[in-house]
């Protein structure tokens, strides 16, 4: 049986960076993303159910992270803020603008875009993870892409 330290090391190694990027796009700043990650890891170490497969564990981690981000948003009643510039120091300029535009999308749109384009989840997998229909995923991806296109054209 894995010791807690070993679980932490393994989960961070396999999913930490991806969870950080997801939380950052949801929370828009590194400090809040870190707080959410802490909650996710505490739940993973002390309260998680047994996982059937690595994919089951990954999906659970993203689901918990999303729930935690939404809770934080509700709790703090925060308004939409731009993505914190300090979190993007390592990102080259043209890509940084794209990240800012994705981060500015409504939460539901940016969540599906991020899970699909960054995490490689299929539409079916996103539907299962979010508990929505595949057609709703398709609709959100379409709306998200259209919103990005129009904001990109507006910026040019």
């Amino acid at each position: 049986m894995e010791q807690r330290e070993q679980v932490f090391d393994r989960v961070y190694r396999e999913y930490g960076p991806a969870l950080y990027r997801f939380c950052l796009m949801q929370m828009k700043n590194a400090a809040d993303a870190e707080d959410v990650m802490q909650e996710v890891f505490v739940k993973r170490l002390y309260q998680a159910p047994p996982f059937q497969t690595p994919e089951h564990e990954r999906r659970w981690l993203f689901r918990v992270a999303l729930n935690q981000c939404r809770d934080e948003w509700k709790r703090s009643r925060r308004t939409e803020l731009p993505l914190e510039a300090a979190a993007l120091v390592a990102v080259p300029e043209p890509e940084r603008a794209l990240l800012e535009q994705v981060a500015a999308l409504p939460e539901k749109l940016r969540t599906v875009l991020h899970l699909h384009y960054c995490e490689g989840y299929s539409q079916q997998e996103i539907a299962s993870l979010l508990g929505i229909t595949v057609s709703a995923v398709k609709m959100r991806m379409k709306r998200g892409r259209e919103a990005l296109r129009s904001s990109w054209e507006g910026a040019e």
């Binding site: 807690r4 796009m25 802490q38 890891f41 170490l45 043209p94 991020h114």
Partner: protein, 378 residues
């Protein structure tokens, strides 16, 4: 969009993040260190006394959560052994003598919005016990359940009820539904009714011919937004049961009875509401069921069946359980109304759990990607 993935890859976590998280997360439940010191004889004796007390208390607790077989039948054999059992259960044993009728609330299982209780109704001596026994054993005749009403009274005694309503009782036909319904709706306790909607049921469980006692399982649920069942003493108004034999129905008493007790279990219902541009949600989880109403939702949620399939319970640990795995079916209603010139739909659905749930661990109800955070009911 491949540019997005490439850009995100460049967005790496801070180098020290892993170390910080590791330290905080592992400290979250790390056992505290202690200093080992040799124990004095006095401390050893104190430990022995404390252990003896703890054993006594735990034996007592085990007895307290030994549910009556009626509850075991209703909630399943594992329910009384579940971690939640103690917070739901109360050994009540409160008896009220109301003239020639004696009523006893034996045990209760409940939370702040719903209650199940075992009620013993001892028939008055003049009642035709032979007819009751014959009807109980018969396939065609039956012993009718009493109408039971619930009130948040504080303290009202049998004498108070008698003084307020006693003059009306001789003229009442307790076998006539219209007559006793009017009395149920308007009596000396009416001012103490629970506000908001409510639901109740009574089912006969057993008849003991030796003592002339009928035993019932009674359920009551309030949808009040302002009152809890646990806030103050709860009074049950129990109308006379009836027996049907040889085509005729007769009341087994000529007056109602009341019994008052203070619900003492600790479980609380969980409620929550949320609103977003797409819809408004309100949800309530009680020990035995979940109910949810969606107003102005998408067409996907305008159907009770679709709503039942879309709902998940989100637990404190982040895990989720689909409602379909915890229930066998649902009941509900769908309606539409006009709001701001638009046609909106309202879908209400409720589903009974297969076994009582530790609702204190339910953090939210999720419907698709709408999440309704829950709080203990006010």
């Amino acid at each position: 969009m491949n540019r997005y993935a490439k850009a995100m890859k460049a967005c790496t976590p801070p180098a020290e993040l892993e170390t910080r998280l590791r330290e905080r997360v592992l400290a979250a439940e790390r056992p505290k260190g202690y200093v080992l010191r040799p124990w004095s004889l006095a401390r050893k004796a104190a430990l022995a006394a404390a252990l003896a007390l703890a054993l006594t208390v735990s034996v007592g607790a085990a007895v307290l959560v030994e549910w009556d077989a009626i509850f075991t039948k209703r909630f399943g054999p594992e329910a009384s052994a579940s971690p939640v059992a103690e917070s739901l259960f109360q050994k009540v044993d409160v008896t009220s003598v109301c003239g020639d009728v004696t009523v006893t609330v034996r045990e209760a299982v409940g939370d702040s919005k719903s209650i199940y209780l075992i009620l013993d109704y001892r028939l008055p001596d003049p009642a035709d016990r032979a007819a009751v026994q014959a009807a109980w054993d018969s396939e065609t005749d039956r012993v009718g359940c009493p109408d039971v009403q619930f009130y948040a009274t504080g303290e009202v005694t049998w004498e108070d009820l008698q003084a307020g309503d006693g003059e009306r009782w001789p003229a009442l036909d307790w076998t006539n539904y219209a007559a006793y319904s009017r009395y149920s709706a308007n009596n000396a306790l009416t001012a103490y009714r629970f506000t908001g909607g409510s639901g109740s049921s009574v089912s006969a469980q057993s008849y003991d011919p030796d003592t002339g006692t009928l035993t019932y399982l009674v359920r009551f649920t309030t949808q009040s937004q302002t009152q809890n069942l646990t806030d103050r003493p709860l009074t049950l108004l129990v109308l006379p049961p009836t027996v049907t034999a040889a085509g005729g129905e007769q009341a087994l008493a000529d007056h109602p009875a009341i019994v008052t007790f203070q619900p003492g279990y600790t479980a609380r219902a969980q409620q929550g509401q949320t609103r977003d541009p797409e819809a408004q949600f309100s949800a309530e989880v009680i020990l035995s069921s979940l109910s949810i109403t969606v107003s102005c939702g998408s067409t996907d949620l305008a159907d009770c069946g679709a709503l039942w399939q879309a709902v998940c319970l989100v637990w404190e640990d982040g895990g989720e359980t689909p409602l379909t795995e915890m229930t066998r079916g649902y009941s509900g209603s769908e309606s539409s109304y006009q709001a701001d010139g638009e046609t909106c739909c309202r879908t209400s659905m409720s589903a009974q759990f297969l076994e009582p749930q530790d609702i204190s661990r339910v953090a939210a109800v999720r419907v698709g990607d709408h999440q309704v955070p829950l709080q203990p009911a006010a």
